[in-house]
């Protein structure tokens, strides 16, 4: 007979939910403003950008890679779309498409260096982090682009359900999670991403082109960063060359907190959403408690190390 413990999903799947619940309970005891619908709506707004970046990051980490350049590529995308529109009077759809094309190209460049030049993803994306940051600063002249058309910010508008404001951008992020979840679960290319992360050699021998899978994943991640660029512009109402700096590591933190293994091949995309919410709840809760932002950085740093430690230990249990 199966015990209750055996019937429950494994710890890797359930852990993030428990952590999120614990964090919510803790902050609810610390601040009476925490446990309100309006505050949760705010948390969702705050995680909208990092949550979208983290989808791309999850795909890459599932292949046993990592992308340290995600936030910087996102910032570049938001500068490209706002500055192109401002300088050349491009319509919003054209400017947005150009911005997403640029982030996709940067993702593809990461992918090409990982597959064709066989460089470790860590080093490639560390280099790309600096390149994307420098290009963003050079192209924008380190100036925030404030002249942004309505067509680029409407995702920052909200609709009301009862007393709660919900941003269209939040709905878009949730929809992207749902689509990616179905893609990873139900389609052959989705399963191949897991296979590459699990055992690249065995995957190659079954006739799957592992290079194509990896290139596709890095490029697709670039698409998600581009969508995050748009969400960032919508949220701030401007193109900010200094955006993406907290998102860069927060995205990785969200993925790892969500139970996706840094060793590749294991994880559920919806866990990343929970991970992003954990990061958001901590930042929001600590702010409500009046804790300075330096301590928030300290806490997220500790969180990510704890998550990796848990991942490491559970892997040892399996093998």
């Amino acid at each position: 007979m199966k015990t209750l413990a055996a019937k429950l999903p494994p710890m890797g799947t359930l852990g993030p939910f428990i952590a999120l619940l614990c964090a919510c309970v803790f902050f609810a005891t610390q601040s009476d403003r925490f446990l309100t619908l309006q505050n949760f709506s705010l948390i969702l707004q705050q995680v909208m950008v990092v949550g979208t970046i983290a989808i791309g990051q999850t795909l890459i980490i599932l292949t046993a890679g990592i992308d340290l350049s995600c936030g910087m590529i996102m910032a570049l995308g938001s500068i490209v779309m706002t500055k192109m529109a401002a300088d050349f009077g491009l319509s919003a759809p054209v400017a947005i498409t150009l911005g997403i094309a640029v982030t996709t190209l940067f993702g593809l460049a990461n992918g090409l260096l990982v597959t064709k030049a066989k460089l470790p993803p860590f080093i490639v994306t560390l280099g790309m982090l600096n390149i994307a940051f420098a290009i963003t600063q050079l192209y924008s002249g380190s100036q925030t682009i404030t002249e942004v058309s309505e067509g680029m910010t409407w995702l920052g508008n909200s609709f009301r359900i009862g007393q709660t404001n919900i941003l269209y951008g939040v709905v878009l992020m949730l929809a992207l999670y749902l689509i990616t979840w179905l893609f990873l679960r139900e389609t052959a290319p989705g399963r191949h991403i897991y296979a590459v992360g699990n055992n690249p050699e065995a995957t190659r021998l079954t006739g799957i082109s592992t290079d194509k899978v990896l290139l596709g994943v890095y490029a697709l991640a670039g698409v998600f960063y581009g969508i995050a660029s748009l969400l960032s512009v919508a949220r701030i109402g401007a193109g900010d060359p200094n955006a993406g700096q907290t998102e860069n590591l927060d995205a990785i933190t969200a993925v790892v907190l969500g139970g996706t293994s840094l060793f590749g091949g294991r994880g559920i995309i919806l866990g990343t959403l929970v991970g992003a919410l954990i990061v958001g709840v901590f930042r929001n809760g600590l702010t409500l408690m009046g804790v300075s932002s330096v301590y928030q950085i300290l806490v997220t740093g500790i969180l990510v190390i704890l998550a990796v430690l848990t991942d490491q230990m559970s892997r040892k249990g399996v093998r």
């Binding site: 139900e186 399963r191 296979a195 055992n199 065995a202 079954t206 294991r266 093998r319």
Partner: protein, 265 residues
């Protein structure tokens, strides 16, 4: 099982040569695989055994020589080419994706798509059909694994190897090559895999078995191909020859001429 010398040749190779720089790994090796047999390939380290198997499975391209499959000349540029021609290889180091389910592993790279738009454009898998087929194929080979939806990493080493063998048997049209399939396994698990290899043969697929394990070779092989110094030293009948004579030929302590004629096959 008696040796049927009239059985058609499924696979044949003549005069294979493979050089790696100064080293000649294959020095004019011949090879013949008959229909419905388990042919063991044995040889000392450096005898050209693995180079031979790599040439047959498409993992390396020989410098000289010809390979025939069902009488047709073939030239494999990659293991994928060999697979398309109906040759499946089971590798020693358990070539499975551990966190994925048995059904997913069986169909990895050959997923059954849903009919119509969902399958062709959206690439959606027909999971139900894949599961049913997995159960059918595993039952067919009498592999006693209860659930096809459990992750491969929950299986024992022997069961994992059975999954790899079953995958090869399910998709091979002509030949299954097994590279040391029992090397990493204990006695009981090894026997489980040997039993499965027999069933694959009995279903009509010829098997090439590379092994260092003499008792296993003698237990299961119909004929034994002995590789030595990059050539085929002899093909012997395990029912007629002793294990020590076989090892003597393999190491060069005995030449083929010194063997009684009935030992050869």
């Amino acid at each position: 099982m008696t040796i049927d010398t009239n059985a058609p040749l499924v696979m044949k190779a003549t005069g294979l040569v493979k050089r790696y720089g100064q080293v000649t790994a294959l020095d004019g090796a011949d090879f013949e695989l008959r229909a419905g047999e388990i042919l063991a390939v044995i040889g000392d380290n450096g005898a050209g055994k693995s180079s031979l198997i790599k040439a047959l499975s498409g993992a390396t391209i020989p410098d000289e020589g010809e390979i025939f499959l069902d009488g047709q000349k073939v030239q494999f540029k990659s293991p994928i080419d060999a697979r398309r021609a109906g040759i499946e290889t089971v590798y020693q180091d358990l070539a499975v994706a551990p966190a994925m389910t048995i059904a997913e592993n069986l169909f990895l790279g050959r997923e059954i798509r849903r009919p119509g738009f969902l399958g062709s454009v959206l690439q959606m898998m027909d999971k139900k059909k894949m599961l049913e087929e997995s159960i059918a194929r595993m039952n067919d080979l009498k592999v006693g694994i209860r659930s096809m939806t459990q992750a491969v990493e929950t299986l024992s080493g022997g069961q994992r190897q059975c999954v790899a063998v079953a995958r090869a048997a399910a998709f091979a049209q002509h030949v299954v090559i097994m590279d040391e399939p029992t090397a990493a396994l204990g006695v009981k698990e090894g026997n489980m895999v040997l039993e499965l290899i027999r069933r694959v043969r009995d279903k009509g697929l010829p098997v090439i078995l590379i092994s260092h394990n003499m008792p296993h070779v003698f237990e299961i092989a119909d004929r034994i191909h002995i590789a030595r110094l990059g050539k085929r030293a002899a093909v012997v009948n395990p029912k007629k020859i002793s294990m020590s004579d076989t090892v003597a030929v393999m190491t060069g302590a005995m030449t083929v001429d010194q063997l009684p004629a009935e030992c050869l096959a």
